[in-house]
């Protein structure tokens, strides 16, 4: 394999560096964060969802956010997140939008939940963190993600699943199952009660 890189002039190097240094700047996101900094935490939850929608994220009606999650990602960051309706999202969440994160309806995210979409390949011992790998995460309807749990890239959570607080989920979770621990294992099988009370 020919690994020779094309020779760059100094000017091209400067332009490449500047581009790399500024790719993470999303003016709409910065404006959103500046605006939302005025709102007190755990207050104005519906307003926060409204502002996120105005900034360009797809968020269903009735979703409430206690704090703006920490968001990072590339240029297609705004199209990479979709949140369903009537979700409750607590403060200090981390959403890594390198790939798609799909959150269903009536999902509850506890405080400090981290959903990651980028990881590294496991490489040689001299440099374990190899090339970056991106894979999407999907959270089913009615899921509860406990406080400070971590969802690793490529995971699909079935409808009605529960993730215990502090768990690290690295495999797909079947519907109506409670998982917990590091790495997350099945703790309990929940009853999928089909209630049409409303």
């Amino acid at each position: 394999m020919d690994r020779s890189e094309p020779k760059l002039t100094n000017w091209q190097k400067v332009v490449t560096l500047l581009r790399e240094e500024t790719t993470g700047i999303h003016p709409r996101l910065i404006a959103l964060n500046a605006l939302v900094a005025l709102l007190p935490r755990h207050q104005a939850q519906a307003t926060r969802a409204r502002l996120l929608t105005v900034a360009g994220f797809r968020i269903g009606p009735g979703t409430r956010l206690a704090g703006i999650p920490k968001i990072n990602g590339g240029s297609n960051l705004f199209s990479n997140l979709s949140i369903g309706r009537d979700c409750e999202i607590d403060a200090d969440c981390v959403l890594d939008l390198g790939e798609r994160i799909t959150i269903g309806d009536r999902v509850t995210l506890g405080p400090g939940v981290m959903i990651l979409t980028s990881t590294h390949e496991l490489d040689i011992r001299e440099h374990r963190a190899g090339p970056v790998q991106l894979s999407p995460v999907s959270v089913g309807d009615g899921v509860w993600l406990g406080p400070r749990c971590v969802i690793l890239p490529g995971v699909t959570l079935g409808a009605g699943a529960i993730v215990n607080p502090g768990a690290v989920v690295n495999k797909d979770v079947p519907p109506h199952t409670r998982v917990g621990g590091i790495p997350a294992t099945q703790v309990e099988v929940l009853k999928p009660i089909a209630s049409t009370a409303s």
Binding site: E20, E21, G24, K70, N72, L122, V150
Partner: protein, 182 residues
Amino acid sequence: MQISRTTAFDVLSSGRTLALRAATGVFDKCPPFVAARAITFALRALGVRIGSATVFWGMPRLSGAGDLASRLRIGTYGGFNARCYFELADKVTIGDHVAVGQDVMFLTCTRDTSNPENRGRALGSAPIEVGNGSWIGARCTIMPGVKIGAGSVIGASVVVTKDVPPNTLLMGTRSISLAKWR
């Protein structure tokens, strides 16, 4: 009680620490992955020994008293994700080709738990060493005095309280040897 005399060196180094704190305050406002080279350059300029081609993708938070910069030493070809936290009561030495995820904490302050009236009194400090080529996942906590061996991988959200042997994959309380794997 010890009376310390302020020397010219102290004034200079405290000026550098003040500048480091000011830089932390400024670069904290950057979104992750923005101005990464500028952050790394600022840290280098303010006395943190960082090897070539290492990049801080977000400004780390540095805590501790006195000359912080001299206690942090980082090798070449490393990558540090956003919101890393270094408690620099003691030396934190990080080798070459090390990758560190987001929200990782390096703690060096030890606690005296023997007093029932005050279980968390500051006792002293212990250094942290991270070997070459290791990879520390997101939201890990590295406790004081821990040595992570070369080529080890720490999974996400793990609290590392004991030394990690070289070429080990640590995930929660389970550990798997990677010695036969590449």
